[in-house]
C-alpha cells in the first residue's frame, strides 16, 4: 500500500507530470505563469478543485453511472460536477482571499475548462475505478505536479522579462521554448520507478 502510494506520488509529480509529459493544463500553465505568487495560488486552487473533483466524480461514477449502465454520460456528468465545484471555489476565494481573486482574474472560472481537471477524472475512472483512495491521491498528486511545473515556469519567466529576448519571440513563443527545455529535463525522470 505504502509503496503504491509513493509510486503514484512520484509518477504524478515527475515521470508522468501533467504539464510537462502529458500536455494537460497548458492554458493556465502559459497564462498564469508570469509571477511566482500568482502561479502558486493558481496551483493551490487547481489542487483543491482536482482533489474534490476526483472524490465526487468517483462517487458519481460508482453509485450513479455504473449501476444504471450510463457510462457513456461520463463526460457530461463530470464536466457538470467540475463546473459546480469551480463556482464554489470561486465564491470561497472571493470572500476569503480577495487579493488572490484579483490576481487570478479570468483564469479562475477557466479552471472549469482546464483540461487537467477533466483529464484526471477520466483517467481515474480508467485506472483506479475500484479504489476511492487511489483516485483521490492520484488527483491530488497530479495537481501538485501541475503546481510544481507552473511555479518553476513562473520562476524562470520572472527572469526572462529582464533579458533581451528578440522582439518577435517575446511573451508566448519564448515561454513555449522554455517549456520545451523544461520538458527535456523532466524526460530525465522517465523510467524511474519504485516497487
Amino acid at each position: 500500500m505504502a509503496v503504491q502510494i509513493v509510486s503514484i506520488l512520484l509518477s504524478a509529480l515527475l515521470t508522468e507530470n501533467f504539464v510537462m509529459v502529458k500536455f494537460l493544463g497548458i492554458c493556465p500553465f502559459l497564462g498564469v505563469s508570469k509571477k511566482t505568487e500568482t502561479a502558486f495560488g493558481m496551483g493551490m486552487a487547481v489542487t483543491f478543485v482536482m482533489a474534490l473533483a476526483s472524490a465526487f466524480t468517483w462517487l458519481a461514477n460508482k453509485f450513479l453511472l455504473i449501476p444504471f449502465g450510463l457510462d457513456y454520460l461520463q463526460t457530461i456528468l463530470f464536466i457538470l460536477i467540475i463546473a459546480g465545484l469551480v463556482q464554489f471555489v470561486e465564491m470561497f476565494i472571493k470572500k476569503s482571499l480577495p487579493s488572490l481573486y484579483n490576481a487570478l482574474g479570468i483564469y479562475l472560472p477557466l479552471i472549469t475548462t482546464n483540461c487537467a481537471v477533466l483529464g484526471v477524472t477520466l483517467l481515474n475512472v480508467q485506472n483506479y475505478a475500484d479504489s476511492f483512495i487511489f483516485s483521490l491521491l492520484n488527483g491530488t498528486f497530479s495537481a501538485l505536479g501541475f503546481t510544481l511545473a507552473i511555479v518553476l515556469m513562473a520562476g524562470i519567466r520572472e527572469y526572462l522579462d529582464e533579458d533581451a529576448v528578440p522582439e518577435c519571440f517575446r511573451g508566448f513563443p519564448i515561454a513555449l521554448l522554455t517549456a520545451g527545455l523544461m520538458s527535456i529535463a523532466f524526460m530525465g525522470f522517465s523510467g524511474f520507478s519504485i516497487g
Binding site: F23, L24, Y72, L176, F186
Partner: protein, 208 residues
Amino acid sequence: MADENKKTAMSVFKNGLFTENPTFMQLLGMCPTLAVTTSLQNGLGMGLSATAVLICSNLLISLLRKIIPDKVRIAAYIVIIAAFVTVIDMSLQAFMPDLASSLGLFIPLIVVNCIILARAEAFASKNGPLHSAVDGLGMGLGFTGALCIISAIREILGAGTIWGITLYGTHVQPATIMIMAPGGFIVLGLLIGTINFIVKKTKKGADK
C-alpha cells in the same frame, strides 16, 4: 467587427481561417495542439473532430441564444458541447477505432477545448445560425490547418515519415525528441515566433 450588417458569410469564414486563427493568433486550445500533433493523421483527425463539434455547438447555441437565461449560459454551453463531444467520441470508437485509440483521452477533452467555448461565448451567442455555423467551420478549419502544419513538421523531423510514408530511408536517423513532449513545445514556440516575425515585416512594408 463594428458594422455587423455588412459582415458576409465569406468574411466570417476567412476571419476564422486566417485573421483570428485560433491557434497562431489567439493562442487557444493549446493542450490538444501540443498533445496529438505527433503525426499528420492524428493532427487531421483531431482537427476535424473539433471542427464537427464546433459547427454543431455554434449552430445549436445560436438557435437557442434567446432562450438560454444569461446567468446559466456558460453551464448550458458546456452541456451542449459535452453532448456533441460524446456523439463524436462514440462515432469515432465505432467507425475509426484506430484513430480513437491513438487520440485517446483527448477526444473527450474536446469538451474543455477553449476554442469551442470561446466561440460560443464570443460569436454564437450574438449572431444568427448561418453566420455561427460558418464561423464554426472557419475557426475549425483554422485549427485543423494549424494542427496539420505542426504535426507535419513534427512527423517529418521526429519519425522521418509523412502520413506514415517513410521519407528518407535508413540513412538518416530521425530526431525522436520531436515527436516526444519537448518537441511539441519547441516546434510551436518557433512557429509562433516566425509568424510574429512575418506579420511584423509585412506590417512595416505596408506602412512605407
